[in-house]
Symmetry: C2
DNA sequence: AGTGGTCTGCAATTTTATTGCACAAAATCG
DNA sequence: CGATTTTGTGCAATAAAATTGCAGACCACT
Protein backbone atom coordinates (compact mmCIF):
# COMPACT_ATOMS: atom_id res chain seq x y z
CA UNK A 1 0.00 0.00 0.00
CA UNK A 2 2.06 2.88 -1.24
CA UNK A 3 1.23 6.31 -2.57
CA UNK A 4 0.15 4.96 -5.95
CA UNK A 5 -2.24 2.43 -4.42
CA UNK A 6 -3.86 5.16 -2.37
CA UNK A 7 -4.15 7.35 -5.43
CA UNK A 8 -5.73 4.49 -7.36
CA UNK A 9 -8.21 3.82 -4.58
CA UNK A 10 -9.19 7.46 -4.40
CA UNK A 11 -9.74 7.53 -8.14
CA UNK A 12 -11.76 4.33 -8.11
CA UNK A 13 -13.87 5.48 -5.18
CA UNK A 14 -14.68 8.55 -7.22
CA UNK A 15 -15.34 6.86 -10.53
CA UNK A 16 -14.81 3.20 -11.19
CA UNK A 17 -16.02 3.35 -14.77
CA UNK A 18 -12.72 4.69 -16.05
CA UNK A 19 -10.72 2.44 -18.32
CA UNK A 20 -7.54 0.90 -17.08
CA UNK A 21 -5.51 2.92 -19.56
CA UNK A 22 -7.02 6.13 -18.22
CA UNK A 23 -6.23 5.17 -14.64
CA UNK A 24 -2.73 4.13 -15.59
CA UNK A 25 -2.21 7.51 -17.11
CA UNK A 26 -3.58 9.34 -14.07
CA UNK A 27 -1.24 7.56 -11.69
CA UNK A 28 1.67 7.56 -14.12
CA UNK A 29 1.98 3.84 -14.70
CA UNK A 30 1.76 1.49 -17.64
CA UNK A 31 -1.64 -0.18 -18.15
CA UNK A 32 -0.33 -3.60 -17.20
CA UNK A 33 1.20 -2.47 -13.93
CA UNK A 34 -1.88 -0.50 -13.10
CA UNK A 35 -4.13 -3.45 -13.77
CA UNK A 36 -2.02 -5.73 -11.60
CA UNK A 37 -2.28 -3.28 -8.72
CA UNK A 38 -6.03 -3.07 -9.05
CA UNK A 39 -6.28 -6.83 -9.10
CA UNK A 40 -4.13 -6.99 -5.99
CA UNK A 41 -6.43 -4.51 -4.25
CA UNK A 42 -9.41 -6.63 -5.25
CA UNK A 43 -7.89 -9.90 -4.10
CA UNK A 44 -6.82 -8.39 -0.80
CA UNK A 45 -10.41 -7.31 -0.25
CA UNK A 46 -9.39 -3.68 0.07
CA UNK A 47 -11.75 -3.03 -2.79
CA UNK A 48 -14.81 -4.73 -1.40
CA UNK A 49 -16.95 -4.33 -4.47
CA UNK A 50 -17.89 -2.11 -7.38
CA UNK A 51 -21.43 -0.79 -7.54
CA UNK A 52 -23.62 1.49 -9.60
CA UNK A 53 -25.12 4.40 -7.69
CA UNK A 54 -28.66 5.22 -8.73
CA UNK A 55 -29.92 8.82 -8.51
CA UNK A 56 -32.70 8.72 -5.90
CA UNK A 57 -34.75 11.45 -7.56
CA UNK A 58 -34.72 9.66 -10.89
CA UNK A 59 -35.87 6.50 -9.17
CA UNK A 60 -38.79 8.19 -7.44
CA UNK A 61 -37.27 7.85 -3.97
CA UNK A 62 -37.14 11.43 -2.84
CA UNK A 63 -37.71 10.99 0.85
CA UNK A 64 -34.89 10.19 3.20
CA UNK A 65 -35.28 9.79 6.93
CA UNK A 66 -32.99 9.11 9.86
CA UNK A 67 -34.65 7.28 12.71
CA UNK A 68 -33.28 6.75 16.20
CA UNK A 69 -34.77 3.86 18.10
CA UNK A 70 -34.79 3.02 21.77
CA UNK A 71 -35.67 -0.55 22.62
CA UNK A 72 -37.91 -1.62 25.46
CA UNK A 73 -35.74 -4.50 26.62
CA UNK A 74 -32.00 -4.25 26.11
CA UNK A 75 -30.66 -7.80 25.93
CA UNK A 76 -28.40 -8.97 23.11
CA UNK A 77 -31.07 -11.29 21.75
CA UNK A 78 -33.64 -8.47 21.66
CA UNK A 79 -31.24 -6.28 19.80
CA UNK A 80 -30.48 -9.04 17.32
CA UNK A 81 -34.15 -9.74 16.85
CA UNK A 82 -34.97 -6.13 16.08
CA UNK A 83 -32.03 -5.76 13.70
CA UNK A 84 -33.12 -8.86 11.81
CA UNK A 85 -36.53 -7.28 11.43
CA UNK A 86 -35.27 -3.99 10.01
CA UNK A 87 -32.55 -5.47 7.83
CA UNK A 88 -35.16 -7.37 5.86
CA UNK A 89 -36.75 -4.10 4.74
CA UNK A 90 -35.48 -2.84 1.38
CA UNK A 91 -36.26 0.74 2.43
CA UNK A 92 -33.73 0.43 5.26
CA UNK A 93 -30.43 1.21 3.61
CA UNK A 94 -28.37 1.53 6.78
CA UNK A 95 -28.93 0.01 10.20
CA UNK A 96 -26.57 0.45 13.15
CA UNK A 97 -26.43 -0.57 16.75
CA UNK A 98 -24.99 2.43 18.58
CA UNK A 99 -23.76 3.66 21.93
CA UNK A 100 -25.71 6.11 24.07
CA UNK A 101 -29.35 6.55 24.98
CA UNK A 102 -30.39 5.39 21.53
CA UNK A 103 -29.97 1.71 20.69
CA UNK A 104 -30.41 1.67 16.93
CA UNK A 105 -30.10 4.22 14.14
CA UNK A 106 -31.79 3.60 10.80
CA UNK A 107 -31.38 5.38 7.51
CA UNK A 108 -34.45 5.08 5.33
CA UNK A 109 -34.85 5.67 1.61
CA UNK A 110 -38.50 6.11 0.64
CA UNK A 111 -40.81 7.26 -2.10
CA UNK A 112 -43.15 9.32 0.07
CA UNK A 113 -44.85 9.71 3.44
CA UNK A 114 -47.26 6.90 2.72
CA UNK A 115 -44.40 4.50 2.40
CA UNK A 116 -42.92 5.88 5.62
CA UNK A 117 -46.20 5.38 7.39
CA UNK A 118 -46.64 1.77 6.38
CA UNK A 119 -43.01 1.01 7.19
CA UNK A 120 -43.36 2.45 10.70
CA UNK A 121 -46.48 0.41 11.17
CA UNK A 122 -44.49 -2.68 10.33
CA UNK A 123 -41.34 -1.91 12.34
CA UNK A 124 -42.56 -0.05 15.40
CA UNK A 125 -45.86 -1.59 16.30
CA UNK A 126 -46.45 -2.94 19.82
CA UNK A 127 -44.86 -6.34 19.39
CA UNK A 128 -41.51 -5.22 18.14
CA UNK A 129 -39.99 -4.18 21.47
CA UNK A 130 -39.56 -0.52 20.55
CA UNK A 131 -39.92 1.84 23.52
CA UNK A 132 -39.83 4.99 21.38
CA UNK A 133 -38.44 6.25 18.12
CA UNK A 134 -37.61 9.66 16.78
CA UNK A 135 -37.61 10.58 13.13
CA UNK A 136 -35.54 13.24 11.40
CA UNK A 137 -36.47 13.89 7.81
CA UNK A 138 -33.66 14.96 5.54
CA UNK A 139 -34.29 18.44 4.20
CA UNK A 140 -30.95 19.05 2.55
CA UNK A 141 -28.19 16.67 1.59
CA UNK A 142 -24.94 18.57 1.85
CA UNK A 143 -22.69 15.57 1.34
CA UNK A 144 -23.17 11.91 0.62
CA UNK A 145 -20.19 9.88 -0.42
CA UNK A 146 -19.09 6.29 -0.16
CA UNK A 147 -15.43 7.24 -0.42
CA UNK A 148 -13.21 6.57 2.55
CA UNK A 149 -10.52 9.22 2.95
CA UNK A 150 -7.09 7.72 2.27
CA UNK B 1 -38.20 2.02 -17.49
CA UNK B 2 -39.67 -1.44 -17.73
CA UNK B 3 -39.13 -4.65 -15.83
CA UNK B 4 -35.82 -5.35 -17.56
CA UNK B 5 -34.42 -1.91 -16.76
CA UNK B 6 -35.28 -2.38 -13.11
CA UNK B 7 -33.68 -5.79 -13.10
CA UNK B 8 -30.56 -4.36 -14.69
CA UNK B 9 -30.39 -1.56 -12.13
CA UNK B 10 -30.76 -4.00 -9.27
CA UNK B 11 -27.98 -6.14 -10.67
CA UNK B 12 -25.70 -3.16 -11.21
CA UNK B 13 -26.37 -1.77 -7.76
CA UNK B 14 -25.28 -5.12 -6.41
CA UNK B 15 -22.23 -5.62 -8.58
CA UNK B 16 -21.23 -3.34 -11.40
CA UNK B 17 -18.10 -5.28 -12.26
CA UNK B 18 -19.99 -7.89 -14.24
CA UNK B 19 -19.36 -8.03 -17.96
CA UNK B 20 -22.04 -6.91 -20.33
CA UNK B 21 -22.44 -10.45 -21.67
CA UNK B 22 -23.07 -11.72 -18.14
CA UNK B 23 -25.69 -9.06 -17.50
CA UNK B 24 -27.32 -9.70 -20.85
CA UNK B 25 -27.60 -13.34 -19.92
CA UNK B 26 -29.07 -12.58 -16.49
CA UNK B 27 -31.80 -10.38 -17.90
CA UNK B 28 -32.36 -12.54 -20.99
CA UNK B 29 -31.22 -10.12 -23.66
CA UNK B 30 -28.56 -10.01 -26.32
CA UNK B 31 -25.33 -8.21 -25.35
CA UNK B 32 -25.98 -5.36 -27.73
CA UNK B 33 -29.47 -4.66 -26.49
CA UNK B 34 -28.32 -4.91 -22.92
CA UNK B 35 -25.48 -2.50 -23.52
CA UNK B 36 -27.79 0.01 -25.15
CA UNK B 37 -30.10 -0.09 -22.18
CA UNK B 38 -27.27 0.49 -19.77
CA UNK B 39 -26.05 3.40 -21.83
CA UNK B 40 -29.55 4.83 -21.82
CA UNK B 41 -29.68 4.54 -18.03
CA UNK B 42 -26.36 6.32 -17.84
CA UNK B 43 -27.31 9.11 -20.17
CA UNK B 44 -30.62 9.64 -18.42
CA UNK B 45 -28.70 10.06 -15.18
CA UNK B 46 -30.57 7.21 -13.56
CA UNK B 47 -27.22 5.60 -13.01
CA UNK B 48 -25.48 8.52 -11.36
CA UNK B 49 -22.06 6.94 -11.21
CA UNK B 50 -20.10 3.75 -10.69
CA UNK B 51 -17.81 3.57 -7.69
CA UNK B 52 -15.49 1.18 -5.92
CA UNK B 53 -16.40 0.48 -2.31
CA UNK B 54 -13.39 0.17 -0.03
CA UNK B 55 -13.55 -2.11 3.02
CA UNK B 56 -13.21 0.24 6.00
CA UNK B 57 -11.37 -2.26 8.15
CA UNK B 58 -8.77 -2.91 5.46
CA UNK B 59 -8.24 0.83 5.15
CA UNK B 60 -7.71 1.30 8.87
CA UNK B 61 -10.92 3.25 9.36
CA UNK B 62 -12.69 1.18 11.95
CA UNK B 63 -14.52 3.87 13.82
CA UNK B 64 -17.86 5.16 12.65
CA UNK B 65 -19.86 7.80 14.45
CA UNK B 66 -23.22 9.47 13.96
CA UNK B 67 -23.37 13.00 15.28
CA UNK B 68 -26.47 15.13 15.75
CA UNK B 69 -25.85 18.86 15.90
CA UNK B 70 -27.98 21.71 17.15
CA UNK B 71 -26.94 25.13 15.98
CA UNK B 72 -26.86 28.25 18.13
CA UNK B 73 -28.43 30.56 15.56
CA UNK B 74 -30.86 29.09 13.07
CA UNK B 75 -30.81 31.30 9.99
CA UNK B 76 -30.32 29.92 6.50
CA UNK B 77 -26.91 31.54 6.17
CA UNK B 78 -25.73 30.04 9.46
CA UNK B 79 -26.85 26.62 8.35
CA UNK B 80 -25.09 27.04 5.02
CA UNK B 81 -21.95 28.23 6.73
CA UNK B 82 -21.82 25.26 9.05
CA UNK B 83 -22.50 22.79 6.25
CA UNK B 84 -19.71 24.28 4.18
CA UNK B 85 -17.41 23.75 7.13
CA UNK B 86 -18.27 20.09 7.63
CA UNK B 87 -18.45 19.18 3.95
CA UNK B 88 -14.82 20.12 3.54
CA UNK B 89 -13.80 17.40 5.99
CA UNK B 90 -12.88 14.09 4.33
CA UNK B 91 -13.92 12.22 7.48
CA UNK B 92 -17.49 13.48 7.03
CA UNK B 93 -19.00 11.03 4.60
CA UNK B 94 -22.61 12.16 4.98
CA UNK B 95 -24.02 15.52 6.06
CA UNK B 96 -27.72 16.32 6.21
CA UNK B 97 -29.87 19.23 7.23
CA UNK B 98 -32.86 17.67 8.99
CA UNK B 99 -36.21 18.43 10.54
CA UNK B 100 -36.79 18.35 14.29
CA UNK B 101 -34.86 19.53 17.32
CA UNK B 102 -31.61 18.61 15.64
CA UNK B 103 -30.41 20.79 12.76
CA UNK B 104 -27.69 18.67 11.20
CA UNK B 105 -26.78 14.99 11.21
CA UNK B 106 -23.27 13.89 10.33
CA UNK B 107 -21.90 10.47 9.57
CA UNK B 108 -18.21 10.18 10.32
CA UNK B 109 -15.69 7.60 9.17
CA UNK B 110 -12.55 7.67 11.30
CA UNK B 111 -9.43 5.75 12.14
CA UNK B 112 -9.67 6.09 15.92
CA UNK B 113 -10.69 8.26 18.85
CA UNK B 114 -7.76 10.58 18.38
CA UNK B 115 -9.01 11.47 14.96
CA UNK B 116 -12.49 11.96 16.36
CA UNK B 117 -11.13 14.26 19.01
CA UNK B 118 -9.22 16.50 16.64
CA UNK B 119 -12.16 16.61 14.25
CA UNK B 120 -14.54 17.74 17.02
CA UNK B 121 -12.05 20.37 18.01
CA UNK B 122 -12.15 21.69 14.47
CA UNK B 123 -15.91 21.48 13.89
CA UNK B 124 -17.47 22.22 17.24
CA UNK B 125 -15.26 24.81 18.85
CA UNK B 126 -16.73 28.09 20.09
CA UNK B 127 -16.71 29.96 16.81
CA UNK B 128 -18.64 27.48 14.77
CA UNK B 129 -22.12 28.32 16.00
CA UNK B 130 -22.81 24.89 17.51
CA UNK B 131 -25.07 24.99 20.55
CA UNK B 132 -24.58 21.29 21.35
CA UNK B 133 -23.82 18.03 19.67
CA UNK B 134 -24.47 14.44 20.55
CA UNK B 135 -22.35 11.52 19.35
CA UNK B 136 -23.45 7.95 18.80
CA UNK B 137 -20.63 5.53 18.06
CA UNK B 138 -21.49 2.64 15.82
CA UNK B 139 -21.08 -0.64 17.67
CA UNK B 140 -22.58 -2.96 15.12
CA UNK B 141 -23.34 -2.46 11.45
CA UNK B 142 -26.36 -4.57 10.63
CA UNK B 143 -26.87 -3.21 7.14
CA UNK B 144 -25.10 -0.76 4.91
CA UNK B 145 -26.05 -0.63 1.27
CA UNK B 146 -26.09 1.96 -1.46
CA UNK B 147 -28.78 0.12 -3.38
CA UNK B 148 -32.11 1.83 -3.80
CA UNK B 149 -35.00 -0.63 -3.77
CA UNK B 150 -36.60 -0.83 -7.21
C1' DA C 1 28.98 -6.28 -5.16
C1' DG C 2 25.67 -10.29 -4.97
C1' DT C 3 21.03 -12.42 -4.51
C1' DG C 4 16.10 -13.15 -4.05
C1' DG C 5 12.02 -10.85 -4.38
C1' DT C 6 9.01 -7.44 -6.26
C1' DC C 7 7.68 -4.26 -9.64
C1' DT C 8 7.79 -2.41 -14.22
C1' DG C 9 7.02 -1.70 -19.39
C1' DC C 10 6.45 -3.72 -23.89
C1' DA C 11 4.12 -6.44 -27.12
C1' DA C 12 1.18 -10.29 -28.27
C1' DT C 13 -3.19 -12.39 -27.21
C1' DT C 14 -7.69 -12.81 -25.52
C1' DT C 15 -11.72 -10.89 -24.01
C1' DT C 16 -15.08 -7.40 -24.03
C1' DA C 17 -17.46 -3.40 -25.67
C1' DT C 18 -19.35 -1.09 -29.56
C1' DT C 19 -21.54 -0.16 -34.02
C1' DG C 20 -24.11 -0.84 -38.53
C1' DC C 21 -27.74 -3.06 -40.25
C1' DA C 22 -32.01 -5.60 -41.18
C1' DC C 23 -35.99 -7.03 -39.06
C1' DA C 24 -39.90 -7.25 -35.50
C1' DA C 25 -42.91 -5.23 -32.07
C1' DA C 26 -45.39 -1.54 -30.34
C1' DA C 27 -47.20 2.92 -30.37
C1' DT C 28 -49.20 6.80 -33.16
C1' DC C 29 -51.99 8.77 -36.45
C1' DG C 30 -55.14 9.60 -40.21
C1' DC D 1 -58.78 -0.31 -39.01
C1' DG D 2 -54.61 -0.21 -41.64
C1' DA D 3 -50.57 2.63 -42.61
C1' DT D 4 -46.61 4.71 -40.70
C1' DT D 5 -43.46 6.11 -37.49
C1' DT D 6 -40.96 5.01 -33.52
C1' DT D 7 -38.59 2.00 -30.66
C1' DG D 8 -36.39 -2.05 -29.55
C1' DT D 9 -34.05 -6.38 -30.85
C1' DG D 10 -30.40 -9.89 -32.52
C1' DC D 11 -26.60 -10.90 -35.49
C1' DA D 12 -22.18 -10.20 -37.18
C1' DA D 13 -18.22 -7.27 -37.97
C1' DT D 14 -15.22 -3.95 -35.87
C1' DA D 15 -12.96 -1.35 -32.38
C1' DA D 16 -11.44 -0.97 -27.84
C1' DA D 17 -10.04 -2.72 -23.68
C1' DA D 18 -8.26 -6.12 -20.52
C1' DT D 19 -4.96 -9.71 -19.71
C1' DT D 20 -0.67 -12.43 -19.97
C1' DG D 21 4.30 -13.85 -20.86
C1' DC D 22 8.56 -12.18 -20.64
C1' DA D 23 12.85 -9.58 -20.04
C1' DG D 24 14.81 -6.16 -17.60
C1' DA D 25 14.97 -2.57 -13.60
C1' DC D 26 14.73 -1.54 -8.90
C1' DC D 27 14.93 -2.47 -3.98
C1' DA D 28 16.13 -4.44 0.50
C1' DC D 29 19.13 -7.34 2.81
C1' DT D 30 23.36 -9.65 3.20
Amino acid sequence: MDRIDRKLLNLLQEDASRTNAELADLVGLSPSSCLRRIRRLNEAGIIDRVVAVVAPAKAGKNLKAIVTVELERHGEQYMRQFLELVVAEPAVIQAYGVSGETDVVLMLRLADMDEFDTLCERLFRDRSNVARYYTMFVIRTAKETTAIPL
